[in-house]
């Protein structure tokens, strides 16, 4: 059972990304208004904006938090072809007393010649590392060799993916059995260019990232990609937002000690959902990777959950404006009777008056009957 409420965001243009910090007490948003906002959760659970500043000279596509071990550090990337690293500074002004904090730019990464479409910090056990990808198809991996000095970043690797990159995800596994790995998705819509998801793995011997796998079955534009938190599992799970939601399982095949090449994987598709009936825009895993949230061009947020047999099912639907879903494809659903005030709330949202902090509460609709038995394609290998 999930309950939604609205937060007065006060961005002047579209919000492109939302990101939580490690503890879930802080949140960052970025927008086409070229700014980033930082939100802190107050004791009573309300989100308060404690910082808002202009970060780039173009739309800011993504914002992401570093592990708090490295301090309060954010990275952002933008249409202005740069990525930037920001650190919160306390003690230089009295802003904290007014409930505001001060963020300063530690570095600007200017290597890209096109829009930087995604930026992600590497898992903490790898140190302070950052990966960016850009529209011209280059993935760059930076490292801050001295974690105390965030203004020094060196470009460690440049991987050419040949296809315009839209999203990137680090494999979060901290197991020593799993070498550093990242997945890159391309939004190139030409299906004849082959697989749009590439997986790169770090090779200890060559000290380079090399391609370990291309998911050849994903040929449509990929908008988002996300490795599931590993949590000690023996395999990796990857969620992909393309024309549908797909969940892949990558089982590392036992390596013979003599081979030095990249790990081979047994790639299995665990689930594939076209319930959005449109392009899927984002996917996000919860902390145990037992719940997946996806958003699509149908304006809905959907939750997916696996039962103990690894059968994934829809666990909830909510409209993007926070109102409950009142039906798809013409037939009435249970939901329209559950929430009596649904009409009111959706009207509010349409007229743009839904700025109240707890303006409305609505429940995630139970999935429609025909949605409870998703199409699951279990491919043999």
């Amino acid at each position: 059972m999930f309950v939604a409420r609205s937060i007065a965001a006060d961005h002047k243009d579209l919000i492109h990304d939302v990101s939580y910090d490690f503890h879930g007490r802080r949140m960052a948003t970025c927008s086409s208004d070229q700014s980033v906002k930082v939100w802190d959760k107050s004791e009573n659970g309300e989100w308060l904006c404690t910082a808002s500043w202009k970060t780039h000279s173009g739309s800011v596509w993504r914002v992401t938090w570093a592990h708090p071990e490295f301090g309060q550090v954010l990275a952002s990337c933008s249409f202005d072809r740069t990525a930037a690293v920001w650190e919160e500074i306390v003690g230089e002004s009295n802003d904290k007393q007014r409930g505001l904090s001060h963020w300063i730019k530690r570095t600007t990464l200017v290597d890209s010649r096109t829009s930087v479409t995604d930026v992600k910090f590497a898992p903490k056990h790898m140190g302070l590392m950052l990966a960016t990808c850009s529209a011209d198809g280059v993935v760059r991996i930076y490292e801050a060799p001295d974690v105390m000095n965030l203004s020094q970043w060196s470009l460690q690797h440049e991987i050419s993916c040949k296809l315009s990159c839209s999203c990137i995800s680090w494999n979060p596994s901290s197991s020593r059995a799993h070498p550093p790995m990242l997945a890159v998705g391309s939004d190139d819509s030409n299906t004849t260019y082959g697989g749009k998801v590439q997986i790169y793995e770090y090779n200890e011997n060559t000290r380079k990232y090399s391609k370990a796998e291309t998911l050849m079955t994903v040929t449509d534009a990929v908008h988002d990609i996300s490795f599931a938190p590993n949590l000690g599992r023996s395999f990796h799970v990857l969620a992909i937002a393309t024309k549908d939601v797909r969940i892949f399982k990558l089982v590392p095949l036992r390596k013979e000690s003599t081979t030095t090449g990249p790990t081979k994987f047994d790639v299995q598709i665990m689930a594939q959902f076209d319930h959005h009936n449109s392009q899927v825009w984002r996917v996000s895993w919860n902390v145990t990777s037992t719940l997946l949230a996806s958003s699509g061009d149908d304006g809905c947020v959907r939750l997916w959950k696996a039962n103990y047999m690894d059968n994934w099912k829809c666990a909830g639907i909510l409209k993007g404006d926070g109102s409950p879903l009142t039906g798809l494809s013409g037939q009435p659903t249970a939901m329209s009777t559950v929430v009596g005030s649904s009409l009111q709330t959706s009207q509010n949202a349409l007229n743009g008056t839904s700025a109240g902090r707890i303006a409305k509460r609505a429940s995630f609709a139970p999935p429609l009957r025909q949605l409870t038995s998703p199409k699951i394609n279990q491919s043999p290998a």
Partner: protein
């Protein structure tokens, strides 16, 4: 819009009114479903909205184009362009006030009749109405009419006149002299007024786009292009204009008008409408002929006029508002991203909102936030509404709750941990009972065998059975019956241990299940108790238990029937009883009742009906196997069962594998399946210290679990977990992190500071050094120089704060080692890493309760705010 092709216009000022025009004009009011459903003639537009037809106007035939008067008053005034080039002002269904009356019915007639292609009201000077006409020889094709012409400047006066000369209305309402005539010897296909300057008119002419300036009509700025249809100005970016030709849209920047800044990918069919979204920057909707989708172009970056050759990023999207082919659409002027769509054929309308792309993120505490457009939504799991059952709860939430209830921390009554986990998961129950019995046996064995069997106990029944030797076989009587039973039973020391691990017996070597049966009766597990009694060849006891079960409160009376059936047992091979039991038992719902009859009807040594009944608890099946399977069969059965359990990741199998590598394999598939690293970590910590904990997979689970606790800010729980882990695995203990060294001699000052854990011994060491002044805790134990002073009380550090410490030698020793260790946190040495000022912890804390800056004069360091994580409150502090 010509002929039957419909078009839609929203009222510029009424958010709920729009007009559909095809062969006639229809005015509709849109409203919520509930409000209008009683009225007849309501058309449903979406789940929430419906439209009512307010008025129809069919006065103006041969409509080619329509434009809505842009000002508030008079409302519902429309200009209609006709096939003969006439422009007629008309109105819809409103009570006509004077201003409206004089305008309605006015006609503006061009010199030569030809089709009127487009109309555009000037947004500022609303008297100006531009009409674009087809070509007629050398005539002008853009005519700008002044709708107030032929009237005196003050309209109120004009109204008087009109009323007086009502008879003359017909002739006076025809205007033939336009205010401006533009575009000679050309055709005009589309028009729009520029928003940056209302004197400028952009026209899509025959083969060029032209900008006319009303201040100087002799000149025009133009650019040759084919894309001359549907010119429209971006309401958010007044220099940006879109136009189209066939399937291609061109975007123009009026500041560098020479060529389009952008052409969008060509669509296969000719376009019929292109419109900028009025509520959102850079969103262009396009519609092609014979299509049921609207293609949206989201231009993410405003183009810059000079120098920068960056192309705007365009995100292309398609939306499908309805099933049928779309005739036309119109953006709502104020509702965000909302449009009404009308179908091409039968005037079916759909109210539709284009959703912004939603980005989302989960927090570590399972709350979901997403951003839609400019709005943010926060969504939390509502645990109070969890009536659907605990099975629905996500494992993340479960683990959080279990951590709160100290799950895994009961190291004495180990089985109780399953209650701490909620007591609903049968696998966890089985697991913790397994571990409990293992612990019991291990302790018991320890007494007898001084620990050398301890590892055997934790190595699981699979390994215990393997070491089995000296199995004796016996044929026992059915107790309470004098018949010789043909049931061989096996006995050995190891099998006895296995039975203990299964929980059937509590002490060896006698196999006496009576205590176990009693406890099962107590828990009202009648069927299970009866089955176990039967397996111990006590048919009378089994019947007795079933009777008891039937008699008990809310008991199942059918148990009596089962008891009756049992009492008829005969070992006659061909008896009717045997025949009926073996067929009817499969219909019994309770697996234990089922296996009872399976046991009674099977041949000795062929107990598949019992052994492979998967609904029976593994411990009962294993115990059964240990009693009735011979040395050849038993290991085979156990191996098979173990592999099944490992594959399924079933925690009941821990009984078989124990906490060995096999057990880790099993736990691995359990973690793969459930992500429950919490159970995995605690379970592995219960094992005997050693190899299991060193398994990298176990280490990985433990690290992941600790990481989860950290992310949830369950720091106290993490610390408790670390303490527990340190007991089991001393190698995991971290080294001391900080030493404070003396300014003068550089040695550690450990004994005088109560912060260091081993100060008890350190103290006595220094104490015996024989100095009478050793009670001075304010000095360095190495060189006896005084320690730094507290920034607040200006006493040397180490000074007891509130005079609570005694002066005597013995007193002090007690102080430092016992109560003070816990109580005197305020005596602790603290300092800021940034400015390196510090003092007694208690003093510093109370200072920073009211201040932000460091207490040392002229130091502006905001010591307490430097660490954001440090200011977070642990979520599990009680």
């Amino acid at each position: 819009m010509s002929g039957s092709k419909p078009d839609i216009l929203w009222s510029p000022h009424h958010p709920d009114l729009y007009v559909i025009c095809d062969s006639e004009l229809g005015l509709y009011r849109i409203g919520p479903v509930g409000g209008t459903e009683t009225k007849p003639g309501t058309l449903s537009l979406s789940k929430e909205t419906a439209a009512t037809l307010l008025a129809i106007n069919s006065d103006t035939p041969y409509m080619k184009c329509v434009a809505w008067y842009p000002k508030h008053e008079p409302e519902c005034l429309l200009a209609v362009g006709q096939a003969n080039g006439r422009v007629v002002l008309t109105s819809l269904g409103q009570n006509h006030n004077s201003t409206c009356k004089e305008l309605v019915g006015k006609e503006f007639v061009p010199k030569h009749a030809r089709q009127c292609n487009t109309l555009a009201w000037n947004p500022v000077d609303s008297n100006l109405l531009a009409a674009g006409l087809d070509k007629h020889r050398a005539d002008f094709s853009v005519l700008i009419w002044d709708i107030s012409s032929k009237f005196a400047p003050e309209t109120s006066v004009a109204a008087e006149k009109i009323r007086l000369s009502f008879v003359d209305l017909d002739s006076s309402s025809v205007v033939t002299k336009p205010l401006y005539e533009l575009g000679q010897n050309d055709a005009c296909l589309s028009l729009c007024w520029l928003l940056r300057d209302p004197k400028l008119l952009l026209a899509g002419m025959h083969r060029n786009l032209a900008i006319f300036d009303l201040r100087n009509t002799s000149q025009k700025m133009f650019v040759n292009t084919k894309a001359i249809q549907g010119v429209t100005v971006d309401p958010h970016f007044h220099d940006r204009v879109a136009s189209f030709f066939e399937g291609q849209v061109a975007i123009w920047d009026l500041r560098k008008f020479e060529k389009p800044v952008l052409t969008l990918t060509e669509q296969p069919k000719p376009l019929i409408k292109v419109a900028w979204c009025p509520t959102r920057t850079g969103l262009l909707a396009t519609l092609t002929r014979d299509s049921n989708i609207i293609r949206l172009y989201d231009m993410q970056h405003t183009p810059t006029p000079i120098g920068d050759e960056t192309e705007p990023t365009i995100i292309e999207r398609s939306v499908q508002p309805c099933e049928s082919q779309i005739g036309s659409f119109a953006w709502h002027p104020s509702s965000q991203n909302r449009m009404v769509v009308v179908s091409a054929s039968n005037r079916v309308m759909t109210d539709f909102t284009v959703f912004e792309r939603v980005s989302l993120a989960w927090s570590s505490t399972t709350s979901l936030t997403w951003a839609c457009g400019r709005h943010l939504y926060d969504c939390v799991e509502d645990s109070t509404g969890g009536t659907e059952g605990a099975a629905e709860t996500d494992i993340a939430t479960k683990m959080r709750e279990r951590a709160q209830s100290r799950y895994g921390h009961d190291t004495v009554q180990v089985w109780r941990n399953h209650l701490l986990a909620g007591g609903t998961d049968p696998q966890l129950k089985s697991l913790w009972f397994d571990l409990f019995y293992m612990k019991q046996c291990a302790e018991d064995q320890e007494l007898k065998l001084q620990g050398n069997k301890q590892s055997v106990v934790y190595s699981g029944i699979k390994n215990i059975i393997k070491t089995s030797s000296g199995t004796t076989e016996s044929r026992r009587c059915w107790s309470g019956s004098d018949r010789q039973a043909d049931v061989p039973r096996f006995y050995s020391e190891e099998r006895c241990l296995a039975l203990r691990l299964c929980g059937w017996i509590s002490r060896g070597p006698d196999i006496n299940v009576e205590t176990f049966l009693r406890s099962l009766e107590h828990e009202r597990e009648w069927e299970r108790a009866a089955a176990i009694a039967l397996f111990n060849l006590d048919i009378r006891r089994a019947i007795q238990i079933l009777n008891k079960g039937a008699m008990a409160e809310n008991g199942d009376l059918n148990l009596n029937v089962v008891a009756m059936a049992l009492s008829g047992y005969t070992d006659e091979k061909s008896s009717l009883w045997r025949e009926m039991c073996s067929s009817l038992r499969l219909q019994l719902k309770n697996p234990y009742l089922c296996v009872m009859f399976a046991f009674l009807t099977s041949e000795a040594g062929a107990y598949d009906g019992v052994l492979y009944e998967s609904s029976v608890a593994v411990r009962d099946r294993v115990a059964f196997a240990c009693m009735f399977l011979g040395d050849a069969q038993l290991p085979r059965y156990i191996d098979k069962l173990t592999n099944d359990m490992k594959e399924a990741g079933n925690l009941e199998g821990i009984l078989l594998t124990g906490l060995t590598k096999d057990g880790v394999d099993l736990m691995e598939s359990y973690v793969d399946r459930t992500a429950d690293v919490q159970t995995a970590s605690f379970c592995m910590l219960k094992g005997s210290p050693g190899e299991v904990l060193k398994d990298p997979r176990v280490q990985c689970w433990i690290e992941n679990y600790r990481n989860l606790l950290d992310a949830w800010r369950f720091w106290h729980k993490r610390a408790e977990f670390d303490i527990l882990r340190g007991k089991m695995d001393p190698s995991s203990k971290p080294l001391a992190q900080v030493f404070v060294s003396c300014n003068f001699c550089g040695k550690s000052i450990s004994y005088s500071c109560s912060a260091i854990p081993h100060q008890g011994r350190g103290f006595s060491q220094y104490g015996v050094s024989g100095s009478p002044t050793k009670s001075k805790v304010t000095s360095c134990p190495g060189c006896r120089k005084p320690l730094p002073r507290c920034a607040l009380c200006l006493m040397n550090m180490g000074t007891p704060v509130s005079g609570c410490s005694g002066t005597g030698k013995s007193d002090e020793k007690v102080d430092l080692t016992r109560e003070n260790k816990l109580a005197q946190f305020k005596n602790w040495f603290t300092w800021c890493h940034n400015c390196r000022h510090g003092g007694h912890a208690g003093h510093m804390l109370s200072w920073f309760r009211d201040h932000t800056e460091c207490p040392v004069s002229a130091c502006t360091c905001k010591c307490m705010q430097l660490d954001t994580t440090g200011n977070l409150v642990p979520a599990d502090s009680s």
